[in-house]
Symmetry: C2
Subunit: 121 residues, 2 copies
DNA sequence: TTTCTCTATGACTATTTAGTGATATTGAGT
DNA sequence: ACTCAATATCACTAAATAGTCATAGAGAAA
């Protein structure tokens, strides 16, 4: 029953992985960590998020294996431990760019027809 | 204000793309369509989901540009229009496999220590 | 037209979860 | 010991959403 071996269990794991990446706050944190390890205070300053919120999201990212936790004295440093997730973001960005370009082309073709307001339906 | 040009707007779009991929039902539909175009009735039979539910998820996938809609008489066929999203799923599967293998290695190392029940903490 | 099938949509419930404030915990310095 | 600063966790509210039932609409066949 523990979503870990059957075929639908694989889909559940994939869905869970994507769900972790489906919040702006967590993507912000991953982007910040993409530039190098940071502690929680630095992440607070960089993102403007609340402290409890950052801790909660870092725990989610950590549980997903995307970042690793490194206590250093009284503060805790986090760093990316899963380079794949940033590459995934890049792939999605590229895909969104492609969609946007296709939409722009369609709009240009439509506007070049110069019949937009002339439909006597 | 329409999440379409600023830096945080890009993150919002990426998060939205991942959110579409973060539900098992939608991944099921994408997998089915990966084998070729299907109409709604065929998808109902293939997935065991409810009809209203399938229609709703297909609309979400369609709005995201991942599938395209093709009415054919009284039924409607859907097909993948964004090959990238299946490749993303494959990347995530591979990543989950890597994680699982690392965990297995760690467990093997721990078990080979043969000290698991002997911790007098 | 009437009737049937197929698909889409509206209303509703239940679950999940992001964000926040308060509090607990931990480690360093006095 | 006490105090301060950094982080984690608990309790709570508000918002989003998956699933379901009922219903509407659209096309085919009688």
């Amino acid at each position: 029953m523990a979503a870990g071996s059957s075929r639908s269990g694989v889909l559940a794991q994939v869905a869970q992985y994507f769900k972790v990446l489906s919040e702006v706050s967590r993507l912000q944190l991953l982007c910040e960590l993409g530039a190098g390890a940071k502690n929680v205070t630095e992440l607070l300053a960089a993102t403007g998020m609340g402290q409890a919120n950052v801790s909660k999201h870092l725990k989610i990212l950590s549980d997903a294996g995307m970042v690793s936790r490194h206590p250093k004295g009284v503060s805790v440093y986090y760093q990316l431990s899963d380079p794949a997730c940033l590459r995934l973001c890049q792939v999605v960005c590229q895909q969104l760019l492609n969609q946007h370009q296709r939409q722009s082309q369609t709009l240009e073709q439509l506007s070049s027809l110069q019949q937009l307001g002339a439909n006597p339906d």
